[in-house]
Structures are given as structure tokens and as C-alpha cells.
Symmetry: C2
DNA sequence: TGGGCTATAGTTAGGAC
DNA sequence: AGTCCTAACTATAGCCC
């Protein structure tokens, strides 16, 4: 049998409460510069953690780019949770590999969609897809990729920089 | 004064419990195909919501690309929460604009970093930056962007497709 | 696949350091 | 900017539909 004095409990409640705990906030741009920075830092880290969990649990690729209020870039993906500022050149190479792989996957999905929907893309839209994917010609090969049919180059660069990135 | 019968409370507790509630899980690849799909769907939506909140609260750009276990692409960013499959061509144009803007921001940040750190990039690394950003030449202009010094084109496409996307 | 539900796990606001 | 703290908020596992 448990007996609780309700009034005492409430009084005690107020006296012993150490912090306010998490308060509900409205989702609109924070006014205070300082709390905006703090919130950004905490939530960015929370977001990246969620992305990592999703990626591991479901075995899927997740890529995120976030620009901080101060313009610092934070990226995760195949290159996981490294800020550009901290990257050494060797790490930059890994980052770019990841970005290339992601881009080729994007190109692949767009191509697949086009084929699946028997979608005849107007030249302008096709051009934009090329810009989006960073590839400068549009024939679709047997693997469903958008590739450079003339030179096997990507954005005009020699294949030796990119061939190991093709999936 | 509140009186609670502890034993009855516990018994009642067990009897009236309707679900198991959320259970702790290990962060490792889910074996069961069905629960993997369900988890992917729920967590992807949670991730995108978190990204939206971060973006609004802190007024920052956030871009995410996720590939589902079935290979479907989900993207948010300037183009918010649309799957490629559902895009109509006009929407694809908006998507590509967002992607271009994001890419130019990436190019800008990399350029800024290079200048700030007085970093003399070796040719290979510089080439990879170009590949990463989708721009095919590397002189840095007054605005800190990596631009095509020869023709103001991006990936060889006429400026009329891209000039309105420059920041 | 996407909604519902409940109980619990996990995240985070606000504070101090 | 990162760490710790607590209380309260939100997300979500496991279930059903």
C-alpha cells in the first residue's frame, strides 16, 4: 500500500526540480543567435546519428549535406561524418569517391525511371539531368547508366580518375 | 491525499498492457525483409522530418539522398520530399535547380576552404574537386566560385541553362 | 505501403560548466 | 563548440488493420 500526500508531492516537485527539462518549441526560425547555434549543433549531430542508424539497420545508402549558420559544410554518406575543414587531401579523395558513386547512382535511377516510364525527355530536361548528375552526355548503356559515349570520361576528365568509381 | 494499492496497480498494469511498446533494438542490419521495409519507411520519414525541422529552426540548407532497399530514390533539399518516380518534368526542373544550387554552394565552400588555408591543391586533388562539384575547370573567380573560365558553361552546357542558378 | 495504436526508447531544451 | 545534467518531449517497435 503506497500513500502519497498530493499537496506535499507538488510542493516537493517544485522545490527539487533541478532543470526545466525539454520544452516544446515551435518549428520556426530561432531568433536568438546563440541558441540557434547550440540547437544547430545538437540537432545536426542527432540527424547524422539517425542517418547512420537508418543506413545500418536497412543496409541502404544515405547521403546528407548540411551548411551550418556560419557556412561550414557538414557531409555524411559513403564518407561519413567529416567536415570539409578537417579533411586532409587523402580524405578528400575518399569523399569525392563517395560523391561520385552517389552521383552515378542518381544517374542510374533517373535513367531507369526514364526507361520504365517510356519517357521521351525533351532536350532541355535531358540536359538538366546531365547537369544534375555531372555527366555531360546522355546515352544510356546496358547497365542503365548515363555515360559519356564518346570518351568514357566524366566531365571531360580522363577515365583514370573515374573508372574505379563506376559501379 | 492519494491512495494507491501497489499490488493491484501491478496486476492491473500487466492485465491492461495492450502492446509491448517500443523495444530496444541493436543497430545492425535487420534480417527480416518485411520488418526491414517497415523500419525503413518509418525511419526515413522520421529522418526527413528531423531534416526539415533543422532547416527551419536554423535557417540552413539541408540536402538528403536515400536509396530504399528496393532501389527507390528519396530526396529532400531545396526540392523537398519528392521521390523521383513521382516527378513530372516541370518538377524535375525544380529538382535540378536545387541540385545545381547545392553543388555551387559545395564548390564555393571548397574554394573558400582552399583560400582560407592557403592550400595549394595538387592537380589530381583539384581535378577531383572539379568532378565532385560537377564543374570542369578550376579558376576561382571573385565570388569564390569554381567556374569555367573559358565559356561560362557548366559541364559543357550553354550558360542559358545555368546562369540563373548561380548564387 | 501506409495508417492506426501503446508503451517504451531515444532525443533534446534549457541550464551550467 | 563540446560536455554534463534533468525533465519532458518525440520517435518508434511491435502489433493490428
Amino acid at each position: 500500500m503506497v500513500v502519497i500526500n498530493n499537496i506535499n508531492k507538488n510542493v516537493d516537485h517544485k522545490k527539487t526540480k533541478i532543470t526545466k527539462g525539454s520544452q516544446k518549441i515551435e518549428i520556426k526560425k530561432l531568433e536568438d543567435k546563440n541558441s540557434l547555434q547550440v540547437t544547430f549543433s545538437k540537432r545536426r549531430s542527432g540527424l547524422f546519428n539517425k542517418a547512420m542508424e537508418l543506413s545500418v539497420l536497412c543496409g541502404v545508402e544515405v547521403g546528407i549535406v548540411v551548411f551550418s549558420p556560419n557556412g561550414k559544410m557538414f557531409v555524411i554518406g559513403c564518407w561519413w561524418d567529416e567536415s570539409i575543414d578537417k579533411m586532409r587531401l587523402e580524405e578528400l579523395e575518399e569523399y569525392v569517391k563517395g560523391l561520385m558513386k552517389l552521383r552515378l547512382t542518381v544517374a542510374s535511377r533517373i535513367s531507369e525511371m526514364m526507361m520504365k516510364n517510356h519517357c521521351l525527355m525533351p532536350l532541355v530536361a535531358a540536359t538538366m539531368v546531365a547537369i544534375a548528375t555531372g555527366l555531360d552526355v546522355l546515352p544510356i548503356n546496358n547497365n542503365g547508366f548515363v555515360v559519356d559515349g564518346n570518351s568514357n570520361s566524366v566531365c571531360g576528365f580522363d577515365d583514370r580518375f573515374t573508372q574505379h568509381l563506376r559501379m
